[in-house]
């Protein structure tokens, strides 16, 4: 276990370095990627550009440039090319909003996803299963941006004939007013969760239907257990193991900036919002910061998933 973790941590660092380097290279390859040219503006003289390059340290070898940026990021001194704000500070500021959005949405999607999966598996082939299947497919197919805008249009007073049940975007910190925090986040939570509810419900349904045919479920039945106990203790337990993987990685992805569209649609100034802004202005340092922040969640959670697997399935050894 310890040697497993040590090796995994070593691997994680390598992955993060690779991610940051590739991000760096990609940035300079995209059209209009050269920050010096952008900063210098339309009427730039070559001398001007050279002096900006000099200032930003862009005249070094690409490895040196990348390494300098990494050092600055780790020291917390990396600043935006355009407004000079500190990248690490900005990310830290966005974290409470992003975490509030993602943790709440994750609870909703996990809870409803399991509910939907169990109901449609138990009722497999019946009318309720078919209705749920259609709804789940609709949920999976709805683009988050469209869904968020529709919610705002229908429920947030955007439309003079619509309802005004919810505040129109924005974020109130939990510490400031818990009720307003909840009230402001309810729609964003569902907007983010609906896709996952449909998806998890479908995956769990098919897992349960596979597990029901396992010999050990028949054994449980032959022991005389009640159908509820067989479902929860034997069938569901085995069917949830693959869901753990999905959840670990999906949760990491939304925490790491995957909620970017939801944040923008509802004007929640979290990490995703910050990422969207920096993409818009093609600002490399914040992009680098946000990318590594997201990648870190992915690698950490994928290790956590492996550890959870070993806990859930005793046949698995971590070596």
């Amino acid at each position: 276990m310890v040697s497993f973790l040590i090796r995994r941590i070593f691997g994680m660092i390598l992955v993060l370095l690779a991610v940051s380097f590739i991000t760096y290279l990609i940035f300079f390859k995209i059209p209009g990627g050269d920050p010096a040219q952008r900063i210098a503006g339309r009427t730039a003289t070559p001398a001007n550009i050279i002096s900006i390059r000099d200032k930003l340290g862009l005249n070094h070898n690409v490895f040196v440039q990348w390494w300098d940026m990494m050092k600055a990021l780790l020291n917390g001194t990396l600043v935006s090319y355009y407004d000079g704000t500190n990248v690490v500070q900005q990310i830290k500021q966005g974290i409470p909003a992003t975490f509030s959005l993602c943790i709440g949405a994750a609870i909703i999607w996990l809870g409803f996803g399991i509910l939907v999966g169990v109901i449609s598996a138990v009722k497999a082939g019946q009318a309720s299963d078919k209705v749920i299947t259609v709804l789940a497919l609709v949920g999976i197919s709805l683009p988050v941006a469209w869904l968020g805008l529709m919610f705002r249009y229908l429920f947030c007073g955007e439309n003079p004939n619509g309802l005004a049940w919810f505040p129109d975007g924005g974020y109130v910190p939990l510490t400031q007013n818990p009720w307003q925090w909840f009230y402001h986040l309810l729609l964003p939570w569902f907007t983010l969760a609906i896709l996952f509810i449909g998806f998890y419900g479908r995956v769990l349904r098919s897992n349960i239907l596979d597990t029901i045919n396992e010999d050990f479920v028949r054994t449980a039945k032959a022991k005389g257990l009640s159908s509820r106990r067989i479902l929860i203790k034997h069938t569901l337990r085995a069917s949830l193991i693959p869901i753990v993987t999905l959840f670990g990685l999906d949760f990491a992805a939304v925490l790491g900036g995957g909620a970017i569209i939801t944040e923008v649609v509802y004007n929640i100034q979290g990490v995703g919002y910050y990422a969207a802004q920096s993409i818009h202005s093609q600002d490399l340092p914040p992009l680098m910061g946000v990318t590594l922040y997201g990648a870190a969640f992915i690698v950490v959670f994928s290790t956590l998933v492996d550890v959870a697997y070993a806990y859930l399935d005793p046949r698995i050894r971590l070596t």
């Binding site: 396992e214 010999d215 449980a220 257990l225 106990r229 337990r237 005793p314």
Partner: protein, 342 residues
């Protein structure tokens, strides 16, 4: 006469499938007394597993239809509700399955799974149930049961898992133990141990056993009565002596010929029954074994009823052939025809 535990009368099981109705079991009848072992023998698809699962209520489903009676101490189990059936499963009828590698839940400890069975039928605390589990594991021959009770199934070998399955099946003192091919997935030496164990535990627990297998050799030791099934039908039924020493059905000869025996001259190669069991959706006309039977004749196009033809009480068969003709010819199949010089 010993107490009768189970009386099955003309049980029929039909499954509706997309390709048509499958008559998986077509009229099986037997009586099982306390202390006895009933062997049900047949190839894959002969209906022996469906019969045993039906006794446990495990074949119930929207596409299954049952006829006849399964009287357990006078109660027709086919008419018992799904919820009430839970009190019979495990408690009155215990079952062991074919593949011990997949029949135990891989994520729970052996002990937990047996404790769960005990606690689902008896109002005992965890500690009592655990103590009984350890005692059961000792009875089925698991060494060091105090320690092994906390092992996971993957830490047990195949034979040990089957022993644990037996312990689980016996944990609530069922009156009847149904063993569905309990030795098929095990190697030969372990097979003998498991058969001996089932025979011994039957006496210790004062129960009866239904032993399903495709291998007559396996139950030669312990069976009292044997039912031979083919294509969902009982083709021969009688005491062990009848089946082994006076078999009337060419299909039974084929089964007997396909097991190596020490009490007869050794054939060059073991007998194989040519062909495949018929489809149960469109079974052949007349005797179902006719297409594979070397002795089939004109009359076999008409299905022979299951009746007593030999004279020995309780020995039933489904074959039109003359009894004396069969007695003169069956050894060609059973002993393989060309007998090697000893």
């Amino acid at each position: 006469m010993a107490e009768s535990l189970l009386e099955v009368n003309d049980l029929k099981v039909t499954f509706a499938t997309e390709d048509g109705n499958v008559l998986a079991v077509d009229g099986i009848s037997f009586t099982l007394e306390r202390g006895k072992v009933l062997g049900i023998v047949g190839e894959s698809g002969s209906g022996k597993s469906v019969t045993s699962m039906t006794l446990m209520g495990l074949t119930r489903g929207v596409n299954a239809r049952f006829e006849g009676e399964v009287l357990y101490k006078g109660t027709d189990l086919l008419k018992v509700s799904d919820t009430d059936m839970q009190n019979y499963r495990g408690n009155e009828l215990g079952m062991i399955f074919q593949d011990p590698m997949t029949s135990l839940n891989p994520v729970y400890r052996i002990g937990e799974q047996i404790v769960e069975a005990i606690q689902s039928h008896e109002n005992v605390d965890k500690r009592t149930a655990r103590a009984r589990t350890i005692e059961l594991l000792r009875q089925v021959g698991i060494p060091n049961p105090e320690v092994r009770v906390d092992d996971f199934p993957h830490q047990f070998s195949g034979g040990m898992r089957q022993r644990a399955m037996i312990a689980m099946a016996l944990s609530c003192n069922p009156e009847i133990l149904i063993a569905d091919e309990p030795t098929t997935a095990l190697d030969v030496t372990i097979q003998a141990q498991i058969v001996d164990l089932i025979g011994r535990l039957k006496d210790e627990f004062n129960s009866a056993v239904i032993f399903i297998t495709h291998d007559l050799g396996v139950i030669a030791e312990i069976a009292d009565e044997i039912i031979v099934m083919y294509a969902g039908r009982v083709v021969e039924q009688g005491s062990k002596r009848d089946i082994f020493y006076d078999p009337q059905m060419p299909y039974t000869w084929g089964l007997l010929g396909s097991i190596p025996r020490l009490d007869r001259p050794r054939p060059e190669r073991l007998h194989t029954i040519e062909g495949m069991p018929p489809s149960l959706i469109n079974p052949p006309e007349g005797c179902k074994f006719r297409p594979r039977c070397p002795n089939a004749f004109e009359k076999c196009k008409e299905e022979p009823p299951l009746e007593n033809r030999v004279g020995t009480p309780g020995h039933l068969d489904r074959c039109w052939l003359d009894v004396e003709f069969k007695r003169g010819h069956r050894d060609e199949t059973i002993s393989g025809g060309s007998v090697e010089a000893a």
